[in-house]
């Protein structure tokens, strides 16, 4: 075909009359164009306003909460100078193992939505993880089982005081692996102390509620001493060491200070009683942290009829472990005990006002000097911005305390209520815009097909 042939061919196909334009087509086109421009301007203005609002909110609110934010690592183990705020998006230990931890605690609130989280925070960087092994043993009433953090911060042992578990769960925080350690028959287990060398764990086992010792508020006040050897996984019962209220491993990991009902004893790791401790009248061994790092002194607190679990306030008196129970210094009142940095410096947690938030404080026994090491936020970022956050079951990795540095913490929460509502509102607006765009596209498609 030549160009001329083609031109002729098309010219022949063009002789039929064209249909008339719809009436007012040109005017209608101008009106449609005008509306189109106005609509585009309105959408652009709305998007710009929404973007400005989001940008402003993010700037005011700081970084969006998340589980994977890390601060710069430091040389040795360190504690954040402030703990991160509450975040629902915190990853679990199983999914993203955090490495060695400097602390474990529960954080949140469970007044309405039960948003309490059992957490660990990294010893080398700001890595926050939910301990899913604890979460999985949550009861219908919302309570978590107690757990114990190893002195070097690499493992967590999850116990169960309620008697409905047949095993302890050992979680390796460096790789997320778990190991079940059987408890046969099922008993209520109270975890007392982890030896400094990491090999042994002392715990008490007691009958389940409704049997011989119903306990107080579900927590047994007595039981028999059990030493768990983590090298073999074997738990050795010591029925003669009963009724045991608390136990603390000595710094040499070969002995324990054990508080029985009315007596205190030094017990070898194989269960043999070595000698009785003489304590001042009306006092008993401090739960879990009775030994001072020098191994020569023992910490005592006033005896109560309640289970000698962690107390929010302790009138601490240090006595000579080898003598006649003589107090070496006047008693000093401290908060929730977290361990010892040196024979003269202890670390304690003091709850904030209205039982929310709080601070980790180093106290010098000899001078009474106090230094705040870290803080927990008491903001209303829990329960979807409706409740203030509470701290519970706080423990530090005691083997890291002596050389613990303080690092700058991250802020991954503390979002005020108005910002939460703003984010929710923007989400709805975005959803509405997306829906409108979808409907408009569908309508255009239908018009085109017609």
């Amino acid at each position: 075909m030549t160009d001329r042939e083609l031109t002729t061919l098309f010219a022949l196909a063009d002789v039929e009359p064209e249909p008339a334009l719809p009436p007012g087509f040109a005017e209608q086109t101008v009106a449609v164009a005008r509306r189109s421009v106005r609509r585009r301007r309105a959408v652009a203005a709305f998007v710009a306003a929404a973007a400005a609002l989001v940008a402003g909110t993010v700037v005011v609110a700081g970084p969006v909460p998340g589980g994977g934010q890390h601060a710069a690592t430091t040389g040795g183990p360190s504690l954040p100078d402030r703990f991160a705020g509450y975040s629902r998006r915190t990853a679990t230990v199983a999914k993203e193992p955090p490495g060695r931890a400097v602390a474990t605690y529960t954080y949140g609130n469970h007044e309405l939505f039960r948003t309490l989280q059992p957490l660990v925070v990294g010893a080398d960087r700001d890595t926050y993880r939910r301990v899913d092994a604890i979460e999985e043993r949550r009861t219908d009433k919302g309570g978590y089982p107690k757990a114990l953090l190893s002195p070097d911060g690499t493992r967590i042992l999850v116990g169960d005081e309620r008697g409905d578990a047949t095993s302890l769960v050992l979680v390796d925080l460096t790789d997320g692996r778990r190991r079940d350690l059987p408890v046969d028959p099922p008993m209520r287990v109270r975890l007392f102390s982890w030896s400094a060398d990491g090999r042994y764990v002392a715990y008490g086992r007691a009958p389940v509620p409704g049997q011989s010792d119903p306990g107080r508020n579900g927590t047994p006040t007595t039981g028999e001493l059990v030493i768990l050897d983590l090298a073999t996984g074997i738990s050795t019962r010591h029925p003669q060491t009963t009724p045991v209220r608390s136990a603390s491993f000595a710094p040499d990991s070969r002995r324990l200070a054990v508080q029985l009902d009315r007596e205190a004893w030094i017990v070898a790791v194989d269960g043999r009683r070595q000698r009785q401790l003489v304590l001042p009248p009306g006092r008993e061994l401090l739960m879990r942290y009775a030994w001072l790092p020098d191994g020569a002194l023992i910490a005592t607190v006033p005896r109560t009829e309640d289970p000698p679990y962690q107390r929010w306030s302790n009138e601490l008196a240090v006595v000579d472990a080898a003598g006649e129970g003589r107090m070496v210094a006047p008693p000093v009142t401290v908060g929730w005990m977290l361990g010892w940095r040196s024979p003269t410096r202890l670390v304690t947690f003091e709850m904030g006002e209205d039982a929310v938030g709080g601070s980790i404080i180093e106290v010098a026994l000899d001078t009474g000097e106090r230094r705040v090491l870290s803080r927990f936020s008491d903001s209303s970022s829990c329960e979807y911005g409706t409740q203030r956050c509470q701290v519970g079951d706080l423990q530090l990795a005691t083997g890291l305390l002596a050389r613990l540095d303080i690092r700058p913490g991250i802020d991954r929460g503390d979002r005020p209520l108005w910002q939460s509502l703003a984010f929710v509102g923007l989400g709805f607006v975005g959803l509405a815009l997306a829906l409108a765009a979808l409907l408009a596209a569908g309508a255009r498609a239908v018009r085109r097909r017609r």
Binding site: L6, T8, F10, R40, R449
Partner: protein, 171 residues
């Protein structure tokens, strides 16, 4: 847009709308669809009218927009599923298209071409554009226009064998 510009735009629309609709019809083969496509192209022109009218020829610009709109519409899934014209009949090549039958056969053959092949034939041989103008309307190079023209003619020859020689020889 200022009132003067809008008045000028409205005059342009009134003056060009029929020619534009004819071009659109030749490109798509459906009068109703052609009206929609022309309106879409003119709406786009409205957004850029002040710049277009001062810098380039509005007619060339809107023709380019129209061709792009047609090709864009052809790419949409419902356009590929719903064809505005019937497929060429199997014995099309044996027929000798004269009058109405011939026009229908040519349009059916055009409907069987790829969109850009159809566009290049329509612009060059129906609209009377040269290679450079066609290249500008299609947004491609002159070489591409030439190669696509060659491919389109070959495809048209396969769809209408003997058509041209018999038709033209009879004239």
């Amino acid at each position: 847009m200022r009132a003067d510009d809008e008045r000028e735009y409205a005059e342009f629309v009134r003056g060009q709308v029929l020619a534009l609709r004819r071009t659109a019809y030749r490109l798509c083969g459906d009068w109703h669809l052609a009206e929609d496509l022309v309106q879409s192209a003119l709406v786009l022109l409205y957004r850029h009218w002040p710049r277009v009218v001062s810098a380039v020829s509005p007619h060339a610009y809107v023709r380019k927009v129209l061709v792009n709109t047609v090709l864009e519409e052809r790419r949409r899934w419902w356009s590929r599923r719903v064809r505005p014209s019937a497929e060429p009949p199997p014995d099309l090549g044996a027929a000798c298209p004269v009058g109405i039958d011939g026009r229908l056969d040519l349009r059916a053959a055009l409907a069987g071409l790829a969109p850009r092949q159809r566009a290049v034939l329509v612009l060059r041989y129906w609209e009377g554009l040269d290679v450079a103008e066609t290249a500008e309307a299609l947004g491609c190079s002159a070489g591409t226009v030439k190669s696509q023209t060659s491919d389109a003619i070959a495809a048209l020859r396969r769809l209408l064998p003997n058509y041209v020689s018999e038709r033209l020889e009879s004239r």
